[in-house]
């Protein structure tokens, strides 16, 4: 029998509404799981089980009185520690924010609170969301529930590991270059990066403001659609937030994909794909055809330059955003003789190696004499990449690729080689540069480790993206769970 902590959010919602299970029972199951596996997996930086228990009690009370407690009520959630939570420490995986407790909620968090948010804890992450393995957390790495010797991906590795290990039923992550999709792929889950501007960034600690988006990490596509509905929508507190009419993402899910046109960018099928990943993706292409879609190889030539452009643009924006950590208004301060010494010492002690590297890289790319050659040129390459996607979407409804060229790698394997680490985002990065939505769904195993299929869609066409993902999820029929032995199954 399936245990409560393994169920999908929508299943639990239905069970609660039929009064077959209480929010307290669901939380009890998840809490038991936290007690038995958290020591090994380390999904969380801060646990908030007291808050979760209060929320579960309120949900049960509302249900007993015949009221609707909201779709998020009683569904245990992990929230990436990059999102501000009033009264709950928000560290961003960094020493510099170790003692920071926000006095306000991020918009996505306050929206979920209105719908009954039951938050288990703040999930571990690469420091300031910079990384692809969660090894850059100042509070130690998270491990992959499928194989404890491997990384869960990153930067939202804690969020993904929590859902995969049964320490939460769904989670919020953030994605600047793949940080939702790649950990979802490594942990056998569904992860969506929405269109830039669809979800508010207010209260999301900034990494690269023109690329960052908040999104769901869930166990299936239906949960993903439900959670997206809860967090999407215009926010006057984010000037890049779009004012658009939102469709009901869950409603059109079962529409099928007959007659749809699917493009496969050649550029995303070449770089260092493992045989298992290639095989899984090729099997998906056959399934697309069986479902009545037309599949065609295509070319987006400038994607070959996306990684290089990204590793100029993202660090440049980061170097500017992270200038705020100066030891004055919040966060760590290391005293010095004067202001400059205080800045230098505070930032030296507060930031880890990867964050320092990116600040240096960004500062260099923006400095006099190099600005045009690096940052200016990278922005023009971004225009070319946007053009490639625009042309592709004139012909195709969606584009597909692997989410990551490999399944989860070993802890320590890439820590000392930043470039090798960056290359693991080669398939996800173009999506952030173009601002389009993309989803990763599990599509098979290689040596017992999950492989993800990335589906990319048109701007603000999450409805089609989710419909395609749902049809493929059904056709793929991925049912595997982390195994006992290597993992925590």
């Amino acid at each position: 029998m399936e245990e409560l902590h393994q169920a999908k959010a929508w299943e639990l919602m239905e069970m609660m509404r039929r009064r077959e299970v209480s929010a307290a029972e669901i939380l009890h199951s998840v809490k038991g799981r936290v007690e038995s596996v958290e020591e090994r997996v380390r999904s969380y930086i801060t646990l908030t089980l007291d808050q979760a228990e209060r929320a579960a009690r309120e949900a049960d009370k509302a249900l007993a009185e015949g009221k609707d407690p909201g779709p998020a009520a009683g569904i245990p959630m992990a929230v990436k520690d990059v999102l501000c939570t009033k009264g709950v420490p928000t560290t961003c995986g960094s020493r510099i924010l170790e003692n920071y407790t926000p006095v306000y909620d991020a918009t996505v968090v306050s929206r979920l609170r209105r719908e009954g948010l039951t938050m288990v804890g703040k999930a571990n992450m690469d420091e300031f969301a910079m990384g692809s393995s969660t090894e850059n957390s100042a509070f130690g790495p998270t491990r992959n529930p499928w194989d404890l010797e491997r990384v869960p991906g990153g930067s939202s590795g804690g969020s993904a590991a929590a859902v995969a290990a049964g320490e939460a039923v769904w989670a919020l992550g953030s994605d600047t270059g793949g940080s939702i999709r790649q950990p979802a792929s490594f942990c056998g889950l569904v992860g969506l990066k929405p269109t830039y501007g669809l979800v508010s960034r207010y209260g999301l600690v900034a990494f690269a403001s023109s690329l960052d988006q908040v999104g769901p990490i869930t166990r299936d596509v239906r949960d993903c659609a439900l959670l997206l509905s809860l967090i999407a929508g215009h926010d006057p507190r984010d000037s890049t937030s779009l004012e658009v009419e939102l469709p009901s993402y869950a409603e059109g899910l079962e529409g099928g994909i007959e007659g749809m046109k699917v493009g496969v960018p050649r550029e995303l099928m070449q770089e260092g794909l493992t045989p298992g990943v290639r095989e899984c993706v090729e099997r998906c292409l056959s399934l697309f055809r069986e479902l009545g879609a037309e599949v065609e190889e295509t070319t987006l030539p400038h994607l070959d330059y996306a990684l290089s452009a990204y590793y100029i643009i993202a660090p440049a924006e980061a170097s500017s955003n992270l200038a705020r950590y100066d030891g004055v208004r919040y966060g760590l301060r290391v005293e010095g003789e004067d202001m400059l010494e205080m800045y230098g010492k505070t930032r030296a002690a507060g930031f880890g190696a990867e964050v320092k590297r990116r600040i240096m890289l960004g500062t260099y790319a923006l400095s006099a004499g190099y600005y045009e050659a690096y940052y200016g040129q990278a922005q023009k390459v971004r225009t070319l990449i946007l053009g490639d996607f625009r042309r592709a979407f004139e012909r195709y409804d969606v584009l597909v690729s692997p989410t990551s060229p490999t399944p989860a790698f070993r802890l320590g394997e890439k820590v000392e080689d930043p470039l090798a680490m960056y290359l693991s985002d080669v398939c996800t990065i173009p999506v952030n540069l173009a601002g389009i939505p993309a989803i990763s769904i599990p599509c098979g195993l290689e040596d017992g480790l999950p492989v993800g299929l990335q589906i990319m869609g048109k701007v603000l066409d999450e409805a089609t993206l989710l419909r395609v993902a749902r049809a493929m999820e059904e056709a793929i029929g991925f049912r595997e769970r982390p195994q006992v032995g290597r993992g925590v199954g």
Partner: protein
């Protein structure tokens, strides 16, 4: 090629104190990443406009309505040092 001197200069611009070991390591690692990034220089972008943002950006204006904001206590609650309702800092000059 990026030199240790460049790294020292950039660290100063970024207000980061680096150890000797960090300077050596970052010189090597930044060199590798910049070498990879240099790939974009080969593209002809003569008539291409730069993109800083994918959303068509315009100034977003609203009416200036008085709303409750953070209290002084809330705003100062995370300050490493405070003095009489202010953030306290070391001497500047």
């Amino acid at each position: 090629m990026i030199t240790e001197k460049d790294v020292e200069y950039v660290a100063w611009l970024a207000r980061l104190e680096l150890t000797a070991e960090e300077k050596e390591r970052f010189t090597r690692q930044l060199g590798q990443v910049l070498e990879h990034a240099a790939k974009i220089k080969s593209l002809d972008t003569g008539d291409v406009e730069p993109t800083s943002h994918v959303v068509p950006l315009r100034n977003v204006m609203r009416d200036d309505v008085v709303e409750p904001g953070l209290t002084q206590e809330e705003a100062l609650s995370n300050a490493p040092r405070r003095e009489g309702g202010y953030f306290a800092v070391p001497r500047i000059i």
